[in-house]
Amino acid sequence: MKASRVEGFARQLAPSTTDSVRAATVNQVVRRLAMLPQSVGDVEAARTAAAQLKSHVLDNLGPLLEQLEANCERNGIQVHWAEDAREAREIILRLAGDRRRVVKAKSMATEEIHLNPYLEERGFEVTETDLGEYVVQIDGDRPSHIVAPIIHKSLKQVAESFSREGLGPYSEVAEELTMQARAKLRSKFREAEVGISGVNFAIAETGRLVLVENEGNNRFSTTAPEVHIALMGLEKVLPRETDLALFLRLLAASATGQQVTTYTHFIAGPRRGDETDGPREVHLVILDNGRSRILEGPYRDILRCIRCGACLNVCPVYRQASGHAYGHVYSGPLGAVLAPALEGVAALGDLAKASTLCGACEEVCPVKIPIPAMLLDIRRQAAESESDSAPWAAYALGATRPALWRAGLTMLPLASKVAVHPMKSGWAEFRELPARTGRDFRRWQRGRS
């Protein structure tokens, strides 16, 4: 039984990265715990309601998406359907046309389709405008967390990057660095011809797109350029505007420990006749990219995810390994299910091994996704196609024959000294082997009767 790539990555990870991730995730867990009951009241009832509603969405996805399309078109939002990442990239390329200056609001869907390198190779100037994503971009890095892209970096590292890029005098004061980025990004917003964003929720009954953020860069990106292109995974649709009352609260509290995000945008179409600002075109690209397939399979419930990142923050493995360890856009417990669900268990099923199955992810999930049960199922699938599966058949032989079992136990103290077994060496690399202490239960029990 081999270790996953997450273990391999963790073994060569700088301790300072773990320190950065730990500090930020611990903080988020505390903030979430404090805010959630204050914001939604009965947390359990809110999670149950949200899970049921998202299940309802998945059960009625076709009709809801058709309704969304019709109402978007009525609002002047042009809807495009992308079967896969390639098609999504091509649609966006075609929509951008000759407009080469692009600003981007933070979007995991655009990460999923690897949009930036695609556009850059074709002569576009793409600027990430979320502060964290901007740092990722100037460093040639990748986001390591779906909500906090540079959670793996320290303030000092960011300060060095800004200084290197000539954004301003060296500073390790977060506010000063923010002002430096702000000054730089302002000019980008003013020059931009296309703004690309994700979508947090798309409302079927009204055809409105809902985006949440804290920095204001989303608003700039979606309103200043002539063209706004929004990319959404097809599971992001919600039936009614009133559903937002629950979901906006759950998302803000679960993601960042906020009652409400600083900005909540309702986008109901392009600039109308007599209006003097806003984009002249708004496009919604609805991305499948494997989601329809997931919908029909055993990991369907992962499509309930609202990308809050709470499962990453609370996950002990994520904290030790950081998001890059997963080698996929989606990391942590979410990624350990979604990545193999999207790309296939054969390719990424080993990610499911990178879990103690402690269940903290399911406990914090605002839509109650049974992540541990899914991890177990992925492990089952992966093991069936794996040649080096553990010698569990031999173990089962002993564990179904009581006499053999008892003989094995009697020999254990000796066996643990002389045996060579991958389990033993894996254990002993970091720990002392357990010793039998005190009385033997079976002998004690026989002595009583």
Binding site: Q320, P372, L376, R379, A383, A396, A399
Partner: protein, 236 residues
């Protein structure tokens, strides 16, 4: 009340005293404790590793020995992990929920027997940190162990940071993902030690053997015990 003891493979192999303590605790509460010598393992190691064929074979053996259809005697284990396997894991393994008559020790005492104050006849004058095993989550446990421990005269429960975090054991994970497991475990120990307890009490031998192994490697000296041993020590 008649109960059946699920000794668990780890107590069977390494920690007989925890099994003995569990029997003493249950007997003190008036239970008649039956031990089936043919019991082995619950099947969780292969189940968690993806070998469900091996897991089913072991689970079937476990059910026939410990959960016979001829009676409805509850099963009690000094482990949330093994209990969760029997109660939740078997449901996933066999595609249907079986009779939910398996209980973790603290859960059984508080929820089934209704005992919320531990009938200690001796004080336990020590500062204790409690690490509740993560399987309490899937079992729906809340503060059963805390409730019983704090009712013991002299016992002072100390709070530590990030109590919700796993210890990093995770069964075979501890061996296959040694570096991650170690990192998680050391963080747990650091948080616990910062609260300056005299001992660390846990509800699952998996967590405890892992934490003790880590500590022994580094020369640590914190006393590490099972919940059942604490309860038993206060008995006459």
């Amino acid at each position: 009340m008649k109960v059946r003891l699920m000794l668990t493979c780890l107590c069977d192999a390494f920690a007989g005293e925890v099994g003995i303590a569990t029997v003493r605790v249950l007997e003190h509460l008036g239970c008649e404790v039956a031990f089936e010598p043919n019991q082995t393992c619950c099947g969780q190691p292969p189940f968690n590793s993806g070998d469900w064929k091996a897991a089913r074979e072991i689970a079937q053996h476990c059910r026939s020995v410990l959960l016979p259809e001829t009676d409805d005697v509850p099963l009690v284990a000094p482990s949330g992990s093994c209990t969760a396997m029997v109660r939740e894991g078997y449901a996933q393994l066999f595609g249907q929920h079986g009779p939910a008559r398996a209980f973790e020790l603290g859960e059984f005492i508080v929820r089934v027997l209704g005992v919320t104050t531990w009938p200690a006849s001796k004080p336990y004058p020590r500062k204790v940190a409690l690490h509740p095993g993560c399987h309490g989550r899937s079992l729906g446990l809340r503060d059963e162990h805390r409730q019983l421990l704090t009712s013991i005269p002299g016992l002072e429960l100390v709070e530590f940071l990030q109590p919700e975090q796993c210890c990093g054991f995770g069964g075979a994970f501890a061996a296959t993902h040694g570096k991650l497991s170690q990192g998680i475990g050391k963080e747990k120990l650091l948080n616990v030690l910062a609260a300056q307890p005299e001992e660390l009490v846990g509800t699952d031998m998996g967590c405890l053997l892992h934490l003790k192994g880590l500590q022994d490697r580094d020369g640590g000296t914190l006393r590490i015990r099972h919940f059942a041993e604490v309860l038993a020590e206060t008995l006459p």
